[in-house]
Symmetry: C2
Subunit: 199 residues, 2 copies
């Protein structure tokens, strides 16, 4: 019985391997990828920073723009800045706390000027634009300028965009789009946002 299960497993895995190998053989292009992590679920920024961690771990040069957040301690930033990753941080906090369109807009523009230079730099392998989507929803940044800078980046450079309700122009430009949906969330069950897990 064990023997038979084991044979079946082997046969099934051989068929799967043929399918996977065929797909891998077709995927031959190597170039910078635009990855969008959107949707209302938990894990968008976390996966964005996870991608930076992965790239840094392979000796790649990365840069991070942190829109919206940045006014309270950030675990990812603590580590990555120490490892030499430059951060451009808006530091304004959530729009519902600032309630200041002009101030937020200027802060966004300042961050954009910094990260735009990274997007144009062929020495940079990966750029994370964390929570960029809100800057476009609120018209704090100009959509055309952002799309142009991403389209004109060095061919090998990866870009990761996170945030809810990503603009369709960016979704069209993207190579990979993941939609992160909240099946359930601890916060809704009365559990606080906690340091080390949520920020």
């Amino acid at each position: 019985m064990v023997e038979r299960d084991s044979d079946k497993h082997k046969a099934r895995q051989q068929r799967l391997k043929q399918q996977v190998d065929a797909k891998v053989a077709q995927a031959t292009e190597e170039r910078g990828v635009l990855l969008v992590l959107t949707g209302n679920g938990k894990g968008k920024s976390t996966a964005g920073f996870g991608t930076v961690l992965r790239a840094v771990g392979h000796g790649k040069r990365c840069a991070v723009a942190q829109f919206i957040k940045g006014e309270w301690p950030c675990g990812e930033r603590n580590v990555l800045e120490q490892m030499g990753v430059p951060f451009y941080v808006m530091k304004t906090g959530f729009t519902w706390n600032t309630q200041d369109r002009q101030g937020d807009s200027q802060a966004a523009e300042r961050v954009w000027q910094g990260i735009r230079a990274e997007l144009a730099d062929p020495k940079v392998d990966l750029v994370l634009l964390d929570e960029l989507t809100y800057m476009l929803s609120y018209h704090y940044l100009d959509l055309e300028q952002v799309c142009d800078a991403i389209a004109a980046r060095p061919a090998h450079q990866h870009v990761v965009i996170t945030g809810r309700a990503c603009h369709r122009r960016l979704l069209e430009m993207a190579d990979t789009v993941s939609e992160i949906a909240p099946v359930k969330h601890a916060f809704e069950a009365g559990i606080k946002a906690q340091q080390g897990l949520d920020w």
Copy 2:
């Protein structure tokens, strides 16, 4: 016009702030959360490792079990091991490459023995069980044992589980579940998995 836009923005953000504040006031419980990152899209393991990065950045003690993967260089592991995070790695590779049920099963059990001790250790703040779901789908690990160890963990300890098709028992136990769906994927368009982005 600018003035009026700015006033409207302020009023809208004030209403939003009231809603958010009310929700935050209701969320008062602090305890270890079980977070499941599942679905077929890109970003599950990445967000899992991003969570570890965040926690490490706040000085939290973490441990990682890496099921399936681990036989090729891993950017996240390069960095996190250097920072003192213990890794329990299966190192067998994909089931369709090994085609060996018994060998995979023993390797899974070995990793499980290591990480189970971390799940029982009150000094450990966060445990990542990367790609655990497949171990249960393939019956390499015993569902009851896994559920029991997670349920019996120290009250403050967070656990993150990643992988496709998470077993419903774990979904029921989870505090937060994000379903990551592939809207599109570069691989399907012929772009190779690349070091620093995909592994």
